[in-house]
Symmetry: C2
Subunit: 341 residues, 2 copies
């Protein structure tokens, strides 16, 4: 007996042909119960695992999906990953999370990712260069974008309803009687900053009120940004009764600076964030915020990819899915008792 390996060894042990073993494995054509049993016994006896390289060489599929993120230490992305796995594992796909380390690193990693011939790629990227867009389109790899359209024919995308979330925050604050409401954005040129401010304006308009441009400042999406934002707003006026921040980190920095100035939250001034990161519930007072449905974004992205991979969908129009967000009211806007010391 020659020393065979792989599927040939299984075939020999089971006393059937190599093709029959393959059919048992794939289920692509009917196999008699007796044969199937012999083959499965041989597989178990030999501890056989198909070689994925050989498989993909023929089938042109790798059964793996990549999630390419700019910064895996940002807690938003692990949640997206978990959501994608929810959908992909039961469908037989393996999800690989690839960290580019930064927005600019994404382009650099893209080449490596395309080389590996993943069946599909999910990516969250701010500025995709024309060269990268062309590489993606040519590669034939299915792409789903998170957060924004990346402008490739047939590439679907999923985003959360930022504007709606800020409209809810605005309504909540207006509903509790706050009127002198400042806004601290992240980088002024960023899409999220604009969309989020837009949602706040919408809440004011809905209540028949105008929103004053002098009530907005733009800094950066960081804790320091929040501190700077408060400093800038309090130079303009000092009677704010609420501060809406473009994300939770800004809000936490804003609370630091408000506390340093001897102001009480929420008795003197209410503060809100966005994203509902873990820290939002950990800080004191706990932060009213909006849940960014990261996990659901991941699930949706995975479903869109699977649909495209199932074929037939090649000529389907690009899909754009917007997920609604949920207001999470905590103590920073509504604490009934005066702040404890």
């Amino acid at each position: 007996m020659t020393q065979k390996s792989g599927i040939a060894a299984v075939a020999e042990t089971a006393g059937v042909s190599v093709s029959t073993v393959s059919q048992v494995l794939s289920g692509n054509r009917p196999v008699s119960e007796a044969t199937r049993a012999k083959v499965n016994a041989a597989i178990a006896e030999l501890g056989y695992t198909p070689h994925p390289g050989a498989r993909s060489l023929r089938s042109r599929r790798t059964e793996s999906i990549a999630l390419l993120v700019p910064d895996i230490t940002n807690p938003f992305y692990p949640l997206v990953a978990v959501g994608m796995q929810d959908v992909l594992l039961p469908a037989g796909y393996l999800l690989s999370i690839l960290d580019a380390g930064s927005q600019s690193g994404t382009g650099r990693l893209l080449g490596h990712v395309l080389e590996r011939r993943f069946d599909g790629i999910a990516l969250h990227i701010d500025g995709l260069s024309d060269a990268d867009r062309a590489r993606l389109a040519e590669s034939g790899t299915r792409v789903v974008a998170l957060g924004r359209d990346i402008g490739i024919e047939g590439s679907d995308y999923v985003e959360s309803d930022d504007a709606g979330g800020f409209a809810k925050l605005g309504e909540h604050l207006l509903g509790t009687g706050r009127r002198r409401i400042g806004f601290i954005g992240g980088e002024e040129e960023s899409d999220p900053s604009r969309l989020r401010l837009g949602g706040l304006r919408q809440a004011f308009a809905g209540a028949g009120l105008g929103y004053d441009d002098a009530a907005t400042v733009f800094t950066s999406f960081t804790r320091d940004g929040g501190r700077d934002g408060i400093a800038a707003l309090y130079e303009r006026r000092t009677d704010w009764d609420a501060i809406v921040c473009a994300n939770d980190l800004i809000a936490i920095g804003a609370m630091d600076e408000l506390r340093r100035r001897g102001l009480s939250i929420p008795a003197d001034v209410a503060v809100t964030g966005y994203d509902d990161i873990d820290a939002a519930a950990l800080v004191h007072p706990s932060l009213t915020t909006v849940e960014n449905p990261a996990r659901e974004i991941g699930r949706t992205a995975a479903r869109l990819l699977l649909t495209r991979l199932a074929g037939d969908g090649d000529d389907a129009p690009t899909q754009h899915i917007t997920l609604s967000t949920r207001l999470v009211v905590r103590d920073s806007t509504t604490s009934p008792i005066p702040q404890e010391r």
Copy 2:
């Protein structure tokens, strides 16, 4: 001209043999400058990318490494991943992060991971079943363990010096004059709980003091665990001047409960954590803790894998690397001013 693809198309365009193209790609044997130039021109013209499946089928290598973690939403693991990438990308390996979703999920995912024939796997797992250990050993895949030995011949492991970190915390507290120091552990049977308490005892012994067993309680590694721990400790006595917690989450819960009881941190009682998660700097007062060198753990694990993969190391003895930890002193033990309101 027949319609070739892959390396054959490159060979035809360049007017050389398929083997020569392969040699240019791999650098495995000398190629004349002129030939190399022709081949590279053809590669660029055709936008050729080698097929990884075909490559691994022959070479028995995938040039990819997997990091298998129990819960990617635990911020410790993304940092480990970043550290591994620091080392692996320059070496030409792609790192795939795979999330098992839970400790128990790790075994379930292991089969899928082994099927993919990664060249190496890094994993952090508490209880590896004998069956899984056998599967890992048989697969021939290189394994490096994070946090503990998994008992496979030739599998190195990396851990951080928990005991040393707690010894530093203990010395810091004793040095600031605290003596009535309680300890809130996680699950009592867990290795980390034992090791960490051991470090604290060591600090007392070093100062010529004894440590009282009645000063320890075990709960769980969560925020709720911290609340419960305080309740349990204050049933025993009420004059604690410091609480050492087995991780940051416990510490944050402990601070919640101390504050609720009207105690001031650190004026009445100091609190310490472990890990230095982001939230440790975000809470108020900011938390004195110990940095768990996650990124360095990742780097070290990656280096160990690469060394083994470079061969020659097959018969090298198992390596066990312990990384030292760093004390991070913040306001929860030393705030010079009375706590602000």
